[in-house]
C-alpha cells in the first residue's frame, strides 16, 4: 500500500518542517518582533523560543545594543550672529522594539534629524563664547528637548556628544586676527615698559654718578686747600705757594705733553716765573 507510505512521508515532512520553523533561537543583544497574520503578536527575547509556523512570522529583528548615530555637521547661527559649524554623535538604545518598528518608519533617520534641529535651536539661543565652552549644558538641553519626541518610538537617548564646534572660516580668521592683535598689543606694552624702566635706571645712574663726581671735586678741592695751607705754612709768604703749585702743575703738564706720542714741538717759556705771573695776573709780587 504505497498510499500509506506517501501519507507517512508527507506527515513526516510536515512535522519535521513545522518543528524546524517553529523553534527560534534569538541571540543575545537582539529581540525579534513576531507578527501573527500581519498583526503584532509578541516580542521574542534572547534564547530559545517557540512560534507557530503557519500563522506567525518573524517580521523584524531589532538590536537592543546601543546604536551610535553620527549626526552630520551643519551650520548654526548663534545669538550674536556668528555662523559656526557643529556636528555631534548620539548614542541611542531601543527599549521597546515594538514601538521602534511600528512607531516610526526609520528611527535612525528620525533621531538624526531631531538632534540636528534641536542642536540648531539650542545653539541659536547662546552667544558664541558660551556655545564654544558649555558643551555639557548643550548636551543636557538636547536630551531634554528630544525626550518627548522619541518617547513614542520606545527609544532612549543615552547621550549626545558634541564632537566639533568650529567657527566658520571667516570667523576663525577674524578670531585669530583678534588674538594676534591682542598679543601684539601686549608685546608693544611690554617693550615700552622695558624702555621706560631702562631710561629711568640710566637717569638714576647719571644722577648718582654726578653726585659722586661733585663729592669727588669737593674732596679734591679740600685736598688742594689742605696742600696749599701746608705749603703756605712751609714757605711763609703769600705769593710763593701759588707760584710753586702752578709751577709744579706746569712742569707736570709739559712732561705729559712730552710723553704723549703725537708729533710735537714743545716750546718752553724761558722765564717760568714771569709766565706764571702772566697766567695768574699781576697780583703776584715775585
Amino acid at each position: 500500500m504505497s498510499s500509506i507510505n506517501i501519507v507517512m512521508l508527507v506527515l513526516i515532512a510536515l512535522i519535521v518542517f513545522t518543528v524546524l520553523k517553529g523553534v527560534r533561537i534569538v541571540p543575545q543583544g537582539y529581540k525579534w518582533i513576531v507578527q501573527r497574520l500581519g498583526k503584532y503578536s509578541q516580542t521574542l527575547e534572547p534564547g530559545l523560543n517557540l512560534i507557530i509556523p503557519f500563522v506567525d512570522t518573524v517580521a523584524y529583528k531589532v538590536t537592543t545594543k546601543d546604536i551610535v548615530l553620527d549626526i552630520p555637521s551643519q551650520e548654526v547661527i548663534t545669538r550674536d550672529n556668528v555662523v559656526i559649524v557643529a556636528n555631534a554623535v548620539a548614542y541611542i538604545n531601543i527599549v521597546r522594539p515594538d514601538k521602534a518598528v511600528y512607531g516610526i518608519e526609520d528611527y535612525a533617520y528620525g533621531i538624526r534629524n531631531l538632534v540636528q534641529t534641536s542642536l540648531r535651536s539650542i545653539i541659536g539661543e547662546m552667544d558664541l563664547d558660551s556655545a564654544l565652552s558649555s558643551r555639557d549644558e548643550i548636551k543636557a538641553k538636547l536630551k531634554l528637548a528630544i525626550s518627548e519626541d522619541i518617547s513614542d518610538w520606545g527609544i532612549t537617548l543615552k547621550t549626545v556628544e558634541i564632537q566639533d564646534i568650529n567657527p566658520s572660516a571667516t570667523m576663525q580668521a577674524s578670531m585669530e586676527e583678534q588674538a594676534a592683535a591682542e598679543r601684539l598689543r601686549r608685546a608693544t606694552v611690554t617693550r615700552a615698559d622695558g624702555q621706560k624702566q631702562a631710561a629711568i635706571l640710566q637717569a638714576d645712574g647719571r644722577l648718582e654718578a654726578s653726585r659722586r663726581d661733585a663729592e669727588a671735586q669737593v674732596v679734591l678741592a679740600k685736598g688742594s686747600e689742605e696742600s696749599i695751607r701746608l705749603i703756605t705754612a712751609a714757605m711763609g709768604t703769600e705769593e710763593m705757594p701759588i707760584v710753586y703749585l702752578l709751577g709744579e702743575q706746569y712742569i707736570k703738564a709739559i712732561r705729559q705733553l712730552a710723553e704723549s706720542d703725537n708729533a710735537k714741538m714743545v716750546v718752553l717759556p724761558a722765564d717760568i716765573l714771569s709766565t706764571i705771573k702772566g697766567m695768574v695776573g699781576d697780583k703776584l709780587k715775585v
Partner: protein, 163 residues
C-alpha cells in the same frame, strides 16, 4: 509497504537517531536533537516489541514533539540570564531608586540610583502617584524616552511591563 523494499530494523532507527544528533551540531536550529532522541527511543521500543512501521513513525513524531514542548516548559526556565548586557534599556524596569526631586503635576522629578543604569545615575521621572516625596524609594515601572515612570514599591509584586 516500505517493508517490501526496505526492511526497517531497530538499528536503522538507532543510526538515524545518532545521525540526527550529529546534524544538530552543524545546523543552527535546535530541533534535530529531539528527533534524534526520539529515534533512539523508537529503536529501543521496536527492538523490544514488534510493532508496525507506521506506528513506529507515529511514536517517533509524537515523542519528538513531546520532547520539544517538555524542553521549553521544564528545561528552558532553568536557563537564567547570566548577563544583562545587550538586553537594552528595558533592564531599568523593576530597578529601585531614590527620589531627589519630587515629581509634581507641572514639573518633572528626578530619581537617583546608587549605580548608573543605562548610562546615567540620575533620571528625570514622572509618577501617577501624587504622594511621592523626596527621599522615597521608588520602583521603575516604565521608560518613556529619557524619562522614567516610577511608583511606590508594592510588596511581593513584580512590575508588569505593559506592551
Amino acid at each position: 509497504m516500505i517493508e517490501t523494499i526496505f526492511m526497517v530494523e531497530p538499528w536503522h532507527w538507532l543510526v538515524l537517531g545518532f545521525l540526527l544528533m550529529l546534524v544538530e551540531m552543524f545546523i543552527p536550529t535546535f530541533a534535530c536533537l529531539w528527533f534524534g532522541g526520539a529515534a533512539v527511543i523508537v529503536a529501543a521500543v521496536s527492538w523490544l516489541l514488534p510493532i508496525a512501521l507506521l506506528w513506529q513513525v507515529l511514536i517517533w513524531l509524537t515523542l519528538s514533539v513531546i520532547f520539544m514542548f517538555a524542553w521549553v516548559k521544564y528545561i528552558k526556565p532553568l536557563s537564567v540570564d547570566r548577563t544583562k548586557a545587550g538586553l537594552g534599556g528595558s533592564v531599568i524596569i523593576g530597578e529601585t531608586g531614590m527620589i531627589v526631586i519630587k515629581p509634581q503635576s507641572d514639573t518633572l522629578g528626578r530619581v537617583r540610583f546608587s549605580v548608573p543604569i543605562v548610562g546615567a545615575d540620575e533620571w528625570l521621572c514622572r509618577s501617577y502617584d501624587e504622594n511621592i516625596e523626596v527621599g522615597d524609594r521608588v520602583v521603575v515601572t516604565d521608560i518613556i524616552g529619557n524619562e522614567l515612570v516610577v511608583a511606590r514599591p508594592k510588596r511581593m509584586t513584580v512590575p508588569i511591563v505593559s506592551r
